[in-house]
């Protein structure tokens, strides 16, 4: 009996393995776990397992193939899997996003679902993949590489039972190769290991018995490395453009359905911009075209124009030249933030620590180092040469100045000292440049260093382009979310850039209220020579928030990044139409937020960006309360203006103080919301009362604000002083009401801030819809997240 039971158990245990061992052909599709996959208990704490277990994207398994993902562990009976069950094996990736591969819309291709995804291994020889196979000769096809046009792989090695079958193989960007290999298996099956010093990407493995005397086929490339590729590129672009044209049509239909502009899309001149820096679509077009330089871009250019794109920043010279010929304004792009690979003799930033010692951070070079300036100048010369006669300008991405990371203050390097010395001489302050660089303290020497830091970005950029072909070109230099809060971190001060002939830009990442600050800060740079631009992102969050952010920026005549797909096409068209409608208008608002040069000087002494952030919070509150504002870096304002000065530690240099007094003497109003009286940069007081500080005769034009911001108080003051402010319309929800004028025509943009609820706005009298000429009176209903532009005069 016992023997019978033993025999039965033996059968249960062995028979599946015997049957499995009978299998001589396998096709494995490496990639994401399939739909419904559950994280195994042993991997509950594995972050990647959790991510992929919860991912909405599930691996599409190629018909006829078996799914292999990082947690496909070997089990007796299953016949294949990873030997080590204690970890995941590599990370899955997938490439079916827009334009990322030549095959992106070729799902009819027989092996598409095997090729589009895979598993990437990172130099881990412990990745052993076991397959049960009976003894014999087998032919393997191993698919290595990545279809993403930005990803190439090199030095990839595959071993079968410890013997190298693929040795240091490489694949180009956007390429998968099928590597054939014959292996002889005696017993114990096949064990594959995937190794590379960097990354090895595996899409699939095919195993079949090898027929005698059939020679190994050649390595096969996907896509083919032949003239066929040009046809694929053209086909892809055609498919892409027609698909996106359909998206655009759908977007336009949606806009018409909502009657945003009436029964049709009005003519919209190209007023908005687009850049490939962050937007996948344009970057991938560049990669695609690099594979087939002869391909035409007429369809793409037409699509962009239809959407309202006027200027596009493209890094590929081929694409840039093509777009230029097709009538688009184009800019090239350069980086200024990262330490270039070819940099030599570069001095790093010397950062002052709180304990008085110095340190360095990896990659943080001194922007004043002659070595970095020479390197960048030479690099720019090479990069820009192919487009120097075509490009309308050059975008400089993240030209950071001298670091301030809360506890680390730069730059105390020798190069910085030399540059400061020169700056002091040029600014007639030679006494501060002679000795050691000033450390944070309330004195004029450190204030000079603070001012030097504010100027450091244009100093850096001008030196970095010197002698290169970029020197004579228009520079557009940008940083993200520019506000006082970010000023000390990156030292990107818009007036300093504008004064140096550089157009200041801001990429807006976060919120509509931050977009407002950035947009007004850029607009205010106009007083210094250049009206800066703000690029908002569309298509990254929910539609209503993106629209609100874009409209916020348009009020200052700025631009938006290009669309990607879906609702962002619609937003882009809306912005283009609205921007045209608001072109050449004057922004009607008499309230200015004061952003003097000294505003965040105390930040560098004891605040770690808190002063700037606090200022941001106050500006946010104005936005939330529908108090429109402009920003001014000085006190030279038109008549009937109010200058709102807020900072927790008010510092004004003597020139700023004199300017304020002049402004007050001329009758403009100062709304003083700081908790204490202003001091000089050396900490000394101007006086102990308003009359001592600003003059007895000027006190009548100063209002001390206790609770700033208080909507009712600011509106009351505006009325008292006959200062123009945006109207506060009665409504059953939150709206923004911004005013503009063009000649005798006055308009108001009314925006429903809610993404979920319609708002009913009470119109005080009859208005006319700008686009439909429809007469509006009584209650105006605005759908969630939408807006109306009305003529009020």
């Amino acid at each position: 009996m016992k023997a019978a039971i033993f025999y039965m158990l033996l059968c249960i245990a062995v028979i599946p393995a015997v049957f499995a061992a009978e299998v001589q052909e396998y096709k494995f599709d490496f990639g994401m776990p399939p739909a419904g996959w559950k994280v195994p208990d042993s991997q509950k704490n594995n972050l990647f397992a959790q991510i992929y277990g919860a991912a909405k994207e599930s691996g599409k398994v190629c018909p006829g193939y078996l799914s292999v993902h990082p947690w496909s562990y070997y089990e007796v009976g299953a016949g294949y899997g990873w030997v080590d069950k204690n970890s995941g094996h590599g990370r899955p990736y997938w490439r079916d996003d827009v334009l990322s591969s030549l095959y992106y819309c070729q799902e009819s291709y027989p092996q598409y679902e095997m090729l589009y995804d895979g598993i990437c291994f990172y130099n881990d020889p412990g990745n052993k993949f076991k397959v049960d196979l009976p003894p014999g000769k087998y032919r393997l096809q191993i698919y290595l590489g990545d279809l993403n046009l930005g990803e190439f792989r090199k030095d990839m090695t595959v071993k079968a039972n410890g013997k190298i079958i693929i040795d240091n193989a490489s694949t180009g960007a956007g390429q998968v190769k099928a590597f054939p290999a014959d292996v002889e298996i005696k017993d114990g099956g096949l064990e594959l290991s995937f190794e590379a010093p960097n990354q090895i990407a595996v899409c699939g493995v095919e195993i079949a018995p090898a027929a005698n005397d059939v020679p190994l086929p050649a390595i096969k490339s996907f896509p083919p490395e032949t003239a066929e590729r040009a046809a694929i590129v053209k086909g892809n672009l055609d498919r892409f453009v027609s698909r996106e044209n359909l998206t655009l049509q759908k977007a336009e239909q949606d806009i018409i359905k909502d009657r945003l502009f009436g029964d049709k899309i009005p003519e919209h001149s190209p007023v908005a911009g687009a850049a490939d820096i962050y937007m996948t679509m344009y970057g991938d077009v560049s990669r695609l075209v690099s594979l087939s330089p002869d391909v035409e871009l007429d369809g793409m250019a037409l699509l962009l124009k239809k959407m309202g794109v006027s200027m596009i920043s493209v890094k590929s010279p081929v694409v840039l030249n093509k777009y230029k010929k097709l009538g688009l304004k184009v800019t090239g792009g350069i980086h200024a933030e990262r330490l270039p690979l070819n940099a030599e003799n570069v001095e790093m930033q010397k950062l002052l620590k709180p304990d008085g010692s110095f340190g360095e951070l990896k990659g943080f070079f001194s922007i004043h180092s002659p070595g970095i300036q020479r390197t960048l100048s030479s690099n720019y010369d090479n990069e820009i040469a192919p487009i120097k006669d075509t490009a309308d300008g050059i975008f400089v991405d993240e030209p950071r100045g001298m670091t301030f990371l809360g506890n680390l203050l730069g730059d105390y390097s020798e190069s910085s000292k030399n540059a400061f010395n020169l700056w002091c001489r040029e600014n007639k302050l030679p006494e501060y440049g002679k000795s050691e660089l000033p450390r944070p303290a309330w004195n004029d020497a450190f204030y000079a260093f603070y001012r030097f830091r504010l100027e450091s970005v244009p100093i850096f950029m001008r030196n970095a382009v010197k002698g290169s072909c970029v020197e004579k070109m228009q520079l557009y230099a940008g940083n993200g979310d520019i506000s006082p809060g970010a000023l000390n971190h990156s030292t990107f001060f818009p007036p300093a850039n504008a004064r140096a002939g550089i157009v200041p830009l801001s990429w807006v990442y976060t919120n509509p209220w931050m977009a407002k600050i950035s947009a007004e800060a850029m607009k205010a740079a106009e007083a210094y020579g250049h009206n800066g631009m703000v690029f908002t992102r569309v298509g990254n969050r929910n539609e209503a928030e993106d629209r609100l952010q874009g409209l916020t920026v348009l009020s200052s005549r700025c631009s938006a990044l290009g669309p990607r797909e879906g609702h962002s096409f619609r937003l882009f068209v809306e912005f283009a139409v609205t921007a045209r409608a608001l072109a050449n208008t004057e922004h009607r608002c008499g309230l200015y937020l004061y952003w003097p040069e000294s505003l965040v000087y105390p930040d560098l002494i004891n605040w770690k960006n808190q002063i700037g952030q606090d200022w941001n919070e106050k500006a946010k509150s104005l936005f939330e309360q529908n108090i429109d504002y402009k920003i001014s870096y000085n006190a030279k304002l038109p008549q009937n203006s109010m200058l709102l000065y807020y900072t927790p530690i008010p510092v004004l240099n003597p020139a700023e103080m004199a300017e304020l007094k002049t402004m007050l003497a001329q009758g403009n109003k100062l709304l003083y919301a700081a908790p204490s009286y202003p001091v000089r940069p050396d900490g000394s007081r101007y006086g102990d009362s308003l009359s001592e500080i600003f003059g007895e005769e000027n006190v009548k034009n100063i209002v001390l604000l206790k609770n700033y911001p208080d909507q009712a108080k600011i509106r009351e003051l505006a009325q008292r002083f006959n200062v123009e402010l945006n109207p506060a319309l009665k409504s059953d929800g939150q709206v923004l009401t911004w005013r503009f004028s063009r000649g005798k025509e006055e308009m108001m943009l009314i925006i429903n801030k809610s993404a979920t609820a319609a708002v009913n706005v009470e119109l005080p009298r009859e208005y006319t819809d700008y686009f439909t000429q429809e007469k509006l009176s009584g209650q105006l209903r605005i759908a969630p997240g939408l807006f109306r532009l009305v003529i009020i005069k």
């Binding site: 004891n606 204490s676 900490g683 000394s684 108080k713 003051l717």
Partner: protein
């Protein structure tokens, strides 16, 4: 008693308490007897001409002691702490201490905080007779006692010390006051130095705001 001795040591670089020196010890008063020259100040001590020192208004605060906590430094074992944090109740974290003190220049030392681990008492600012001596972002920290010394000028026989939490950084801010000590300055050089320092101190706006 040990607390007072330690306080005297840190206060008086020049020696023991003199006629022009003052020490105010904030904290519980029950059953305690102050050493000579030291004034105990409890939560309920309101200033009056008769009392000569005390709080301007009743406090919404509690007295605390850390004497049972072996980790606590004996110097700063007790104090007065606001009943609520600055975020919940800003008014409870804005108090003024008044004392009748002869006119003149003094070196003042304030001690704030709480040495108990895990207790956060930060962003404490100090104004003395209308001058902001500890400005934004204030002093304090987690589980620590912080002392700061600065000059002060007394005019009209009254010292007014306002303790308040930073209006910006309210999170985790709460007043916790331990002691206040004054040492009169008599040397010419010391007085000159005090005047220089006081000329560079910010002044809260005193005109009426709208």
């Amino acid at each position: 008693m040990k607390k007072y001795c330690a306080m005297l040591v840190c206060l008086s670089v020049a020696g023991m308490l003199n006629a022009g020196d003052y020490v105010f010890d904030f904290g519980p008063k029950d059953g305690k007897k102050a050493a000579e020259g030291i004034t105990l100040v409890g939560v309920k001590d309101i200033y009056s001409a008769e009392n000569k020192s005390g709080w301007e208004k009743p406090l919404r605060a509690v007295a605390f002691t850390r004497e049972l906590d072996a980790r606590v430094d004996e110097q700063t074992r007790d104090g007065i702490c606001s009943a609520e944090g600055a975020k919940e109740n800003p008014a409870a974290n804005d108090v003024t201490f008044i004392a009748d003190i002869p006119d003149g220049f003094y070196q003042m030392e304030v001690a704030v905080g709480d040495s108990a681990k895990g207790e956060c008492r930060q962003n404490i600012c100090v104004d003395v007779n209308g001058l902001t001596m500890i400005p934004e972002p204030g002093m304090g920290g987690w589980g620590q006692v912080v002392k700061k010394s600065f000059p002060a000028e007394v005019k009209d026989g009254k010292l007014k010390v306002r303790f308040y939490c930073s209006p910006i950084k309210k999170d985790l801010s709460r007043l916790s006051l331990l002691s206040l000590a004054l040492k009169q300055l008599t040397a010419e050089a010391d007085i000159k130095k005090a005047k220089d320092e006081l000329s560079k101190v910010t002044v809260p706006v005193k005109e009426k705001a709208e």
